[in-house]
């Protein structure tokens, strides 16, 4: 009962803390709120006029929304790269930052769920997906698997982060049984969210570009590059703006993860390119469209080569010793791989799956302004969520924000 009262007090104080901060914090949150609101406005317009105001067509029936969804599922899955060393190998440096990785996962999952919702033609019928209330096509549809794994992963991370933060706030030692089993499940679950998302595409017989076993491994390779890359950048910001200690060793470890994953990702891309082009079957037309253009249509060509270029430069920066040692170069490499992989997932994977169509029709796709606004709005909202969670979590982690009666940390 006392614990419950403390918990309510915790929530109230955390809410107050949400509205407390430097002018920079206010400026940042206000800008994000305004961008998110502009996105909400664009979405309202889409609800009113239908998906006709997107760039999507019957031929290219998924676009920027599903591309961003796929990318963000990867970002969420990447938390596992911090979770394994922190909880399983008890790495001290990772232990200090693992929570931030899990908070990023929470923000990323919420963003990816939002991207699915804005992609629905009839969001008012979302309840049809709720088992029992609606009709759930399980286990037949990979999309229903995705609903389960994404929401399950969200719940797992909310529980782990919420529990550990509250314990820290109370200055109590967390009970292993209350979080460790969930951590172990979350590790396997993290892999499953990106695998299931890959299987959404792999399972489609009419789309040879996706109908290949390498999609899931490629997804994991790219996710474990982009996710830790985002965290490295976030950690630099945290180090600059707060007193929270993030050791160089933690960043160094993440750098190693980014390096290996990026090399694996490039290797898998090369494997795919070899399979598509060496055999030169009729089934490689999507790949030809993506890399070289097809029958005069080449909207994606500059994008994919830019993505490959960015990833290659990032790889060089990460593995050539004099460059690799400098933090500023590491940041450049991270930004390049974050953007490069975002292009690879969207323009490089989702869109070419639809071009040409199974009947050989070439219709190119570019997101409309309204569609882009919705995307930017969701990203702003996600950043807002992540900043807000960090704003509360960091003072808890550093011991500045704690229960009145909790004893001061040694």
């Amino acid at each position: 009962m006392r614990l419950l009262r403390s918990y309510v007090a915790f929530l109230l104080r955390a809410t107050l803390l949400s509205f407390t901060g430097s002018w920079r914090f206010y400026a940042w949150m206000t800008v994000l709120t305004l961008i998110a609101a502009a996105g909400a406005f664009a979405y309202a317009r889409q609800l009113e006029q239908g998906l006709a105001i997107t760039g999507m067509t019957d031929q290219v029936s998924w676009g920027a929304y599903i591309a961003n969804f796929t990318y963000l599922v990867g970002v969420a899955a990447a938390a596992v790269m911090l979770v394994i060393p922190a909880y399983i190998y008890r790495n001290k440096d990772m232990h200090d930052v693992v929570l931030f990785g899990e908070l990023l996962a929470i923000a990323a999952i919420i963003m990816s769920l939002l991207f699915v919702v804005v992609d629905l033609g009839r969001p008012d019928r979302f309840w049809h997906l709720i088992p029992r209330l609606g009709v759930f096509n399980f286990p037949g549809s990979m999309l229903s698997w995705d609903v389960i794994v994404l929401n399950g992963y969200l719940a797992l991370n909310l529980h782990i982060c919420g529990y550990l933060l509250f314990m820290k706030y109370m200055n109590r030692k967390p009970t292993l049984a209350f979080y460790m089993p969930f951590v172990v499940v979350a590790i396997a679950w993290a892999v499953s969210i990106h695998t299931v998302t890959a299987f959404l595409y792999v399972g489609l017989v009419g789309r040879p570009f996706w109908n290949t076993a390498i999609v899931a491994p490629r997804f994991l390779g790219s996710a474990f590059t982009a996710g830790p890359g985002i965290l490295i950048i976030a950690f630099q910001v945290i180090r600059r703006l707060t007193h929270y200690e993030i050791s160089d060793r933690a960043i160094h470890m993440l750098r190693n993860i980014v390096t290996v994953s990026l090399l694996v990702n490039l290797f898998l891309l090369a494997c795919e390119a070899f399979k598509e082009f060496y055999s030169a079957s009729l089934h490689n037309s999507s790949a030809r469209y993506l890399f070289f253009g097809l029958h005069g249509h080449d909207a994606l060509v500059p994008w994919i080569w830019a993505a490959i270029g960015m990833e290659l430069v990032a790889a060089v920066v990460l593995i050539v010793p004099p460059l690799a040692r400098r933090i500023s170069f590491l940041n450049v490499a991270c930004v390049l791989s974050i953007v490069g992989i975002w292009i690879e997932k969207g323009m490089g994977l989702i869109v070419p799956g639809f071009v040409p169509t199974p009947l050989g029709n070439i219709v190119e796709y570019a997101p409309s302004l309204n569609e882009a606004m919705v995307c930017v709005g969701i990203w702003a909202f996600g950043l807002l969520l992540f900043s807000w969670m960090l704003h509360i979590a960091i003072p808890i982690m550093s011991g500045e924000f704690r229960h009145e009666t909790a004893e001061t940390r040694a």
């Binding site: 107050l16 803390l17 509205f19 407390t20 901060g21 206010y26 949150m29 206000t30 709120t33 305004l34 609101a37 502009a38 909400a40 406005f41 309202a44 609800l47 009113e48 006029q49 239908g50 998906l51 006709a52 999507m56 067509t57 019957d58 029936s61 998924w62 699915v116 992609d119 629905l120 033609g121 009839r122 008012d124 019928r125 049809h128 997906l129 609606g134 009709v135 759930f136 096509n137 037949g140 549809s141 999309l143 609903v147 399972g203 017989v205 009419g206 600059r240 007193h243 960043i251 160094h252 400098r326 933090i327 040409p356 199974p358 009947l359 050989g360 029709n361 003072p395 500045e400 924000f401």
Partner: protein
Amino acid sequence: MTEEPREESKEMSPKGIEVPRRNFLKAGFGTMAAIAALAGVSAPLASLTKGFTSVDAFLQQHYKRLTSDDLDQILRRLEAEIARDYGARVHVNDVRPMDGVEYGYALNLSRCNGSRRCVEACVKENNQTRDPQMQYIKVLEMSNGSLDVEKSDHYYDVPEVPREGKYYLPVQCHQCKNPPCTKVCPVQATWTEPDGITVIDYNWCIGCRYCMAACPYEARRFNFSKPEIPAEEINPDMAYLGNRIRPAGVVEKCTFCIHRTRRGRYPACMEACPTGARIFGNLLDPNSEINYILKNKRVYILKEEAGTIPRFYYYFDV
């Protein structure tokens, strides 16, 4: 990794969190800005509420879970909605499959001349949206000597058909025995009926378009906005799972003209064909014309390697 000098920031007090008054004022301004922005959002939302969906429509259950009373009420509601939105008096019926019937379609590639009369008839019969016009049937102009659809022209615009050196391949829903589209639907809004026709409950579809990505025949279309059909062009004889005017934001498809064929008539595309290239019939009847063709003609199945087992067959005279 070398240690880079870090800039220590002075923003946050290192000891505990205080909540000064000033911050509440700042919070107030931030919140006001957010509320003002959200008020802007509500403008298009307000116009949205009228005519978008009713409580009954929102709560409507899956077709297969409806009692006949439920269904009756829904059919009357749909008629009222169409009268309100399109100014047309129509009948929406629930037409059930006949016993002992499994439909099959055969198309004579030697005869099809690419006139696209089937396409026109289909649009009229099935109440597809006219702006831009939605078509269930695609006629591909193919070059002689190749069955590669990638070398086809979807939008041929020529004064006279057939053109020299070309043949024509009309493609519509193949009503597969192993349909990839129904398998992927997360809410079972689409399924195959006992007579072999794959249907969609247009009031259950959530509009995720996964079925469109799954279909190797591009047989599914999406209502990107509310369908537009002039009142005088509306075909008033409608079926719930068939040609009724579909809501915005859902996927729709060819149903072999369920509202006609389940009452013993031919599909509109077959009746419209000027060359007799189209043959429709009951696969379970050994004496049907379609069975004669399957037994005696050279039959080609489009994308047979996809394993979808279509009920739509192409054949050649020679």
